[in-house]
């Protein structure tokens, strides 16, 4: 299959149940609200299309052949020998994945979608590069899902994101796995001067294990990173999640926000901000709600190495306060309605700068999960 061929037919031929699972991660087959699309089933890239001028979406092998400089970004932010998963990926002779290039000054609000679907293979591996060159702005929604028939499997993914001078990248990732799937994303971002990186992560469906700790290195003055995670751990799910920001340039700032709910599973919510330059600011906020006995373990770390950095964190774990439920009951809501309304509010992390279509996607994932509370 030619790399740049568009074959929507393959997606439309997927069973209804799988298309529903993919829609929940943000895949729009008709692309009404998307300006580009990449679709990979197991190790096969079945769609790469992009209608936005100045934006390229290319399978990684083709990108490495097309532009000599792409190799400078390949295995740069994430080291090959980081752990056994990156080593596994580095050994692949036939790397798959997506490269997005936003050329200088190109600003596109309409999101690009990247969909990774695990169907038949035991392991899906993927290596993505998102490169936003100086002054560009892009929104990427990455939807990762497994087939409804897939009982066991693993997804290993490296994503390296480069936010150039004055550029802005919004990366929204929605996961929709199943009870027997393990997931090991390895991501890192480099943000240059005046660049902004917004990362949103949503996982509200069962999974066996997710293990990730993406890092943003703010290497240019005034660089900003904000990670927001909204996660639910159902019984049998273990989510070991974290995010790290290294404030490596003057006036850089970072915020790590997590809303974690357990209905019986385990969530480890890590966070680390290192302030090592003047006028840097960082804040970690983790709020955990235990709806049914399970674990929410918040491990916020803030580390400053000079007087010019200001770092803080707040973490709270518990159940919904009884008097909050009764307050809403006094306004006429039943106990169940009051509880759902409060949970909905708890998860309502509005992310400034997020396009409405992406917020709707997040809201849809929350709505879907809410029926299970």
């Amino acid at each position: 299959m030619s790399a740049l061929q568009t074959d929507v037919g393959d997606i439309e031929r997927l069973p209804e149940k799988d298309r529903e699972r993919l829609a929940l991660t943000g895949l729009e087959v008709g692309m009404q609200n998307r300006c580009g699309s990449f679709f990979q089933i197991d190790q096969d890239v079945i769609q790469t299309t992009c209608g936005a001028e100045g934006i390229e979406m290319i399978p990684i092998k083709a990108a490495l052949e097309k532009y000599d400089w792409v190799k400078d970004y390949y295995w740069n932010a994430v080291p090959k020998d980081k752990d056994k998963y990156t080593e596994y990926l580095a050994k692949q002779e036939n790397p798959q994945g997506l490269v997005v290039i936003a050329h200088e000054g190109v600003k596109v609000e309409m999101p690009l979608q990247a969909c990774l679907f695990l169907r038949d293979e035991p392991v899906q591996h993927v290596h993505n590069l998102f490169i936003a060159r100086e002054g560009s702005e892009i929104n990427i929604i990455s939807g990762c899902a497994s087939s409804w028939q897939k009982e066991h499997g693993a997804h290993i993914g490296v994503t390296e994101i480069y936010v150039g001078k004055g550029a802005k990248v919004t990366s929204t990732m929605i996961h929709n796995w199943k009870e027997g799937i393990s997931v090991f994303p390895r991501s890192a971002t480099v943000v240059e001067e005046d660049g902004t990186f917004l990362s949103n992560y949503v996982c509200m469906q069962p999974v066996r294990r997710i293990d990730m700790y993406p890092t943003a290195r703010l290497v240019g003055k005034n660089a900003v990173a904000r990670f927001s995670s909204i996660v639910v751990a159902t019984p049998g799910s273990t989510l070991d999640l974290g995010s790290r920001a290294i404030l490596g340039a003057e006036n850089a700032s970072a915020e790590l926000i997590t809303r974690a709910i357990t209905t019986g599973g385990t969530i480890i919510s890590r966070g680390h901000i290192l302030g090592e330059k003047d006028n840097t600011r960082g804040h970690i906020e983790c709020k955990g709600l235990i709806l049914k006995d399970g674990t929410v373990h918040a491990i916020p770390e803030i580390e400053g190495t000079l007087t010019g950095t200001e770092l803080s964190h707040e973490a709270a774990v518990g159940k919904i306060a009884r008097h909050e439920i009764e307050y809403l009951m006094a306004r006429g809501l039943s106990e169940e309605e009051a509880t759902a309304t409060i949970i909905r509010g708890f998860l309502d992390v509005k992310i400034s700068g997020l396009p409405a279509v992406l917020q709707e996607q997040i809201d849809a994932a929350i709505d879907k999960a809410e029926s299970g509370f």
Binding site: R322, Y327, A330, G332, E337, G345, F346
Partner: protein, 243 residues
């Protein structure tokens, strides 16, 4: 409208209200006074049905229905509403969302209602989070304007409110209680806890009650009770043989 008979209420295993009898007719507004810790808020919370306020004996009947064991939201549906003195701050839950969840009103109608109490800029804020004293009261009034209860309980509507806000609050509470309608046709009743009696500058009350150590010690004209308490303190109510 509300008939409380021989009511005993326990909190954390200790009886806090003893043998309360109270009758509030349709269209009437009653004032409840008493020293700090005498059980005034406990009475309101027991009427609303909050957990932790255990009715050990006696009954609460609302419009002929025994609500003594009824869940909170069913009491709300029957027409009982309450203005909280210390409402919880609910992180993440926008005030606008709360109002949408508890009513059938559309966004425009809610926005218009919010404007009447200068709360339109607060609809996108987390409910009661970081609200000042006056803002909390206005938020409560707004929620009650949406709910439109027939029997309205107010727990210290004056506390933490500046003079300007007090005038607005007084007017709005009088509206909620349909004070502009003659008592013969008025459907709304109220029970108001007050320490200062400032609320009486904005609306007339029909009866006053003094609660001391969990017992109602006297009933009477609210302004008369207020005058006696101001002049002689609650000790005078203990000596009063009106019961």
């Amino acid at each position: 409208m509300l008939d409380i008979s021989d009511l005993h209420v326990e909190v954390d295993g200790t009886e806090k209200l003893h043998d309360i009898n109270l009758h509030i007719g349709q269209g009437e507004t009653h004032i409840l006074m008493g020293p700090n810790g005498s059980g005034k808020s406990t009475l309101l919370k027991a009427i609303m049905g909050f957990g932790g306020y255990t009715i050990t004996s006696g009954s609460i009947v609302f419009r002929g229905t025994d609500i003594t064991r009824m869940p909170i939201h069913e009491r709300a549906h029957l027409g009982i509403g309450m203005m909280f003195q210390h409402p919880p701050a609910i992180s993440g839950l926008k005030l606008g969302k709360l109002l949408t969840a508890t009513s059938h009103l559309g966004n425009d109608a809610l926005e218009a209602l919010a404007q009447t109490v200068n709360m339109d800029h607060f609809l996108a804020r987390d409910t009661n989070v970081g609200f000042s004293g006056g803002e909390i009261k206005r938020s409560e009034v707004l929620q009650l304007k949406v709910q439109q209860p027939d029997f309205l309980m107010l727990d210290e509507p004056e506390s933490g409110v500046d003079l300007e806000n007090m005038a607005l609050m007084g007017k709005e509470i009088a509206n909620l209680l349909e004070k502009d309608i003659h008592i013969v046709n008025r459907r709304k009743s109220g029970l108001i806890i007050t320490h200062t009696g400032y609320i009486l500058d904005y609306l007339e009350a029909d009866q006053g009650h003094v609660l001391i150590d969990g017992r109602i010690r006297c009933h009477g004209n609210p302004r008369e009770i207020l005058r006696v308490v101001k002049e002689k303190g609650y000790g005078e109510c203990l000596r009063c043989k009106q019961m």
